[in-house]
């Protein structure tokens, strides 16, 4: 059993072609789908609350928060080939953390709770990565996925059994988040806040992944051994991206806790972890926008279908997932996005390079 393969591997020459300036400029005219898609989605998301009814805006806010969560999973699986089946651990821990801050200390200021949630996610992910990924033996993908899954299951069980954390019922009625003296309740205000945070984190991730660090990550996803031979500390790279993704999941978790007004054990456990895997596989792992689209489609469909077909909706979801894995391993995004653009280019933009050349 191979421990390094990620399964979804484009042939190596695709990356070569995308990086060589001559080839890329020949295709430069065609390489425009991704920015168009991103801008179109941003515009659609920005005007959505103006045209949607209020209860749908509330639902859309939740979807945006889940998009943020999906981004965090996409970073580790789509870009670093770490199959984290316990991503909800960081999401839920941050949620519980801020819920406790609110319940026991009355802290609800956005400037306190969001950094706190992010930090909780970051530190938890750093510790888990330190244990699962670092060490003398490089860890196999199966071990890491099992370890993360166990982490989420463990947290779920402990939270269920803990009286302090509210047991089965979780922590209800968290007070609203505040900005200064303004109380942020669900609705358009919350929606735009989440959208702004999502866009910010999306852009930061995009920048990170197109830097040298991102190039090394893409390399280790494609061929871990070769990157190790180049002298990169592969396990460290993985641990770093894992911790960053934990931080993002933490941000999403704290937003989710305040948006829903309560936290419960499903946020920590296997249910949420598999949910996020569904989103990202559906949309297309290895592209940030794929994670967002996948979340929007799955949640949109479930909003629309679960009213009329509540009983068979999970079965439909399973069948759709299976079909996507079988026939569109790169996700729905691959219907419109070519291989070349999916892989993209790294470092300074090609134009700058051409200008710098004599």
């Amino acid at each position: 059993m191979s421990s390094t393969g990620t399964g979804i591997q484009p042939p190596p020459h695709v990356i070569e072609a995308a990086r060589s300036p001559g080839m890329a400029s020949a295709f430069a005219g065609r390489m425009k789908v991704l920015p168009i898609l991103e801008v179109a989605l941003l515009i659609a998301a920005s005007i959505a609350p103006l045209v949607l009814r209020d209860y749908i805006t509330v639902y859309a806010t939740r979807v945006l928060i889940l998009c943020l969560f999906a981004l965090s999973f996409d970073l580790v699986w789509g870009y670093a080939g770490i199959l984290s089946l316990g991503q909800s651990l960081f999401f839920g821990m941050a949620g519980y953390g801020v819920a406790l801050l609110s319940r026991d200390f009355g802290v609800g200021s956005i400037f306190a709770v969001l950094p706190a949630g992010t930090l909780i996610g970051f530190v938890a992910a750093l510790y888990l990565a330190g244990f699962l990924l670092l060490g003398r033996h490089p860890s196999s993908v199966v071990f890491v996925s099992l370890g993360t899954m166990t982490g989420a299951y463990t947290a779920d069980r402990l939270a269920r059994g803990s009286h302090y954390l509210g047991g089965q019922n979780g922590i209800p009625s968290i007070q609203p988040m505040t900005i200064g003296s303004y109380q942020l309740s669900e609705g358009p205000g919350f929606y735009y806040l989440v959208l702004a945070i999502l866009v910010l984190i999306y852009l930061l991730s995009r920048f990170l992944l197109r830097s040298q660090f991102g190039l090394a990550l893409a390399g280790l996803r494609e061929n871990e051994q070769r990157i190790a031979f180049f002298g990169y500390k592969v396990q460290h790279l993985k641990a770093i991206i894992f911790a960053i993704s934990g931080a993002i999941a933490g941000t999403a978790g704290s937003l989710y806790a305040f948006h829903e007004g309560f936290v419960w054990t499903n946020m920590l456990g296997v249910v949420m972890s598999t949910q996020v895997v569904l989103y990202v596989l559906f949309g297309g792992s290895g592209t940030l926008i794929g994670a967002v689209i996948g979340t929007a489609i799955v949640e949109g469909l479930s909003f629309w279908l679960s009213d009329n077909y509540r009983d068979i909706w999970p079965i439909i979801l399973g069948v759709l997932l299976l079909l996507v894995i079988l026939f569109r391993p790169l996700g729905l995004i691959s219907l419109v996005l070519g291989e070349r653009e999916r892989v993209g280019h790294f470092g300074p933009s090609l134009k700058e390079k051409r200008n710098a050349a004599p």
């Binding site: 099992l146 069980r157 402990l158 979801l317 997932l321």
Partner: protein, 287 residues
């Protein structure tokens, strides 16, 4: 002394259940390199078939015979249609089989209406030895587990079919060149692993009763057991399952069940971290 014996029996019978559940998972993981995330749902399906046979008024043991056949057949079909495409990419296989498991689980949830359904024990009552009472059905599970384990081992180690399976495992190209239809061998091996899960589900349904999340309960446990035991050999998963089963049944006697449940997994993960090859590091089937 009496409590000690009863505890020992409890531990033994629970250990047997875990071994039974893990056996099929271990055979598929070791022989084919596929971590089958639908295995828990095969267990669930075995339980459901037993319930179905019972609910139409036929005797429960008949359902227990039908379950492995039905689940094995389904495993065969699924291998031909779906799992076959995943051999080149074991990680995608995990996700694909996960999707299969999701479909089966939700289908059963729909069929059972999300209820807990009970199936009576075919052999009820208890065996009395001196002043001690043991539930007979649990004793039967222990005996059947031992028989199934011995039979599976004999099948893989001593028959010509077993030889072909091992050959396809070790060197598929050479096996094909020698005239073994490796595709067929893979289908049958997968079906066999599924049938074992079906049997496990059928046998344990009187103990645990039938509910949609029955499989999930065993999935993590099964995977941890396979990893602790060591992937690649026959003895590995069995050893791992014995260890995990023993600890899962023993620790709740010492501490609160929640902590015990969690502690087993955490200890197992730490163990795997420092000994990735598992308890049994060899490959193949020892004779």
């Amino acid at each position: 002394m009496d409590t000690l014996l009863i505890a020992a029996f409890e531990i033994l019978s629970f250990g047997a259940i875990v071994v039974l559940v893990v056996l099929g998972l271990g055979i598929i993981a070791s022989m084919m390199g596929i971590f089958n995330f639908a295995q828990g749902e095969f267990v669930l399906l075995g339980a459901y078939v037993t319930y179905l046979v019972h609910s139409v008024g036929l005797p429960v043991p008949l359902g227990m015979l039908a379950a492995p056949v039905a689940v094995g057949t389904l495993g065969f079909v699924l291998e031909k249609l779906v799992v076959r495409r995943f051999y080149a990419a074991p990680i995608v296989a995990m996700l694909g089989t996960y999707a299969l498991g999701l479909i089966i689980r939700e289908a059963v949830r729909g069929l059972t209406g999300g209820l807990y359904l009970s199936v009576p024990e075919p052999i009820s009552g208890s065996i009395t030895i001196g002043s001690l009472h043991f539930a007979s059905w649990r004793g039967v599970i222990v005996i059947i587990t031992l028989l199934v384990m011995a039979a599976s081992h004999a099948l893989l180690a001593y028959t010509s079919f077993g030889l072909r399976v091992r050959a396809s495992l070790e060197n598929p190209q050479l096996a094909r060149a020698s005239g073994i239809s490796t595709g067929m061998i893979y289908s049958v091996t997968f079906a066999f692993g599924a049938a074992l899960a079906g049997l496990a589900g059928a046998l344990i349904v009187p103990v645990f009763s039938l509910f949609a999340d029955l499989g999930i309960r065993f999935l993590i446990q099964g995977f941890v057991a396979v990893m602790v035991g060591g992937v690649g050999s026959f003895a590995g998963p069995v050893a791992g399952a014995s260890v995990i089963g023993t600890f899962s049944a023993w620790l709740p006697w010492l501490m609160s069940p929640v902590i015990a449940d969690v502690l087993v997994f955490v200890l197992a993960i730490i163990f795997i971290k420092f000994r990735p090859q598992g308890l049994v590091s060899g490959r193949g089937v020892n004779r």
